[in-house]
């Protein structure tokens, strides 16, 4: 039987006038949020002619022609080339970012040395580095080292962009673990490295989940560096998408088909793992 306290918590929000207003406002907002996604999906299912119609066609019979065209018909590289690049770059950069970031976070959280705080805040500040500001020098650096249009260049750049928030979030998580657990392990004879691997890391699993997911989403979505540093061989899906807009024919159906294929997995991902995502996104603002 529920305790009085639990029952009380559940009842405190008494119904007020304006309940309807709240629902209305919220539904409008959610509707507005879903509308472009709806447009994208429906447009991808229209024939090319329908995409140009005015007034817009709201009811139609869906066709997968655009998907077929996008995947098989267009010249140049096929879609799976970009898909493969995206997957490799995303997985590598997020794994690397979380791996390096976890180590750095642990080092900053558990070790006392002069400059600890300065380094921590420096790493945090790289979160604010504007990609556009760095694109010029990085482009030249990549070109000169012969890494232009390579997956490696993208992986390194994305890793660094993810490192800042990964380190910061994991540092916060490590600081929350009671230090006694680690001290006990040390007394038992573990080396500090073992304590990190076997004791501390498992205890921050939610943080690892949150940062991996956020890094992956970021790397998957990133466009600017991908378009400049990897326009061809290592091109990722955003570059593929952008490539469509450059062509003279405006094939909206195909655009939206590619867009849908790029976005839908992330949407499903987001809904399934939203608890971890939310934790990562709101970190720092809320204790």
């Amino acid at each position: 039987m529920a305790t009085t306290k639990e029952a009380r918590l559940r009842s405190s929000g008494n119904l007020r006038r304006g309940t309807f207003a709240i629902y209305l406002a919220v539904c409008l907002f959610v509707g507005f949020g879903l509308f472009p996604l709806y447009m994208m999906i429906t447009t991808s299912l229209k024939t090319d002619l329908q995409t140009f119609e005015w007034p817009p066609v709201w009811i139609f019979t869906p066709t997968f022609q655009s998907y077929h065209n996008a995947l098989f018909v267009f010249g140049g590289r096929s879609a799976d080339h970009y898909l493969l690049n995206s997957i490799v770059v995303t997985l590598s950069s997020s794994a690397l970012a979380v791996f390096l970031g976890a180590m750095a976070a642990y080092g900053l959280a558990r070790f006392r040395f002069s400059g600890n705080r300065d380094i921590a805040f420096y790493i945090l500040s790289t979160r604010f580095a504007p990609p556009v500001g760095f694109i010029v020098p990085i482009y030249l650096m990549v070109q000169r080292s012969g890494l232009l249009d390579s997956q490696l260049a993208l992986i390194i750049v994305y890793t660094s962009m993810n490192l800042s928030f990964v380190t910061w979030i994991l540092r916060g998580f490590f600081l929350e673990i009671p230090i006694e657990i680690e001290e006990a392990a040390l007394v038992d004879g573990y080396t500090r490295w073992q304590v990190f691997l076997r004791v501390a890391l498992p205890l921050v699993k939610p943080g690892l989940a949150a940062t991996v997911i956020l890094s992956a989403i970021f790397s998957w979505n990133e466009f600017l560096f991908a378009s400049i540093l990897a326009p061809g061989d290592a091109a990722t899906i955003p570059v593929y998408l952008a490539g469509f807009s450059a062509s003279m024919n405006i094939d909206w159906g195909e655009y939206m088909a590619v867009g849908t294929m790029a976005v839908l997995p992330i949407m499903i991902f987001t809904l399934a793992l939203q608890r971890h995502l939310v934790r990562g996104l709101t970190f720092g603002a809320v204790r």
Binding site: P36, R192, A262
Partner: protein, 294 residues
Amino acid sequence: MVTSKRADRRTAFLLIAPTMLVLLVVNIYPFLYALYISAHTFTLGRPTPPRFIGLSNYRDLLDDDRFINSLWVSFKFVTIAVVVEFLLGFALAFLFNARLGGLAILRKLAILPIMVMPLASGLVWFYILNENFGAMNWFAVLLGATQRVRFLTDDSLAILSLVLADAWQWTPFVMLVMFAALQSIPEYVYEAAKMDGLGQWQTFWRVTLPLLSSAIWVVLVLRVVDAFRMIELIYLMTRGGPGGATETLSWYIYSTGFLDQDLGSAAAEAVVMIIVVTIVAQIFVRRLRYGEAT
């Protein structure tokens, strides 16, 4: 501690060094390199070696109307976007905070836009805002417009269209953070306020808002910095037009460097941008330091 201090320091170094190395390569060195490039004439693709010209690029910037304009456009965009996103997101957080059934699911749906590839978002909004067949015009006509609205090609509307697309994606983020912050306020604080005689408005001003202030700060800084560096929407929707109306500093740097291929000027602009952002970031980080110290 059962290990020696020196061994500790070595371990800490080994743990942090790889990260610092990456940041050195991708963050510190490029900035220095950008300073170097900005002091030369550099042209993309041209075989002629760069020529040292000192601060000449920077001096040119001061005379460059497009540059000044880009600063102004950036300021406009950031201000309007952040104000809209903050006010809307903040209000929505309160709405979502109501104890009503179904809000949790609605909230999960509401945050979907945050994860959408900005490029895809730009693409869809480009389609929706198209003056000939875009759905937005359909709504406009529904609401009484007499002729088709030129969302992306009108001088004053173009930037608002960008704000619309940006707000679509990021208002849910503001809402999410403020919602989390609201939820973290313990119930007993509100009860104490009631017993102390505080009315609804008084409670908001004296209790709720101060307790939200650190979250507000974080969200504002993040949005300002991210709105400032936004480029995907411009790339797909307006490409800086019409006539520079949506040419933010971000776009101008991209345009100078990769369309006009003048890397020297682009680097100079980039340095200016980095400095501006660094100042903003420092203010934030400094305040965070105080927070951590107390």
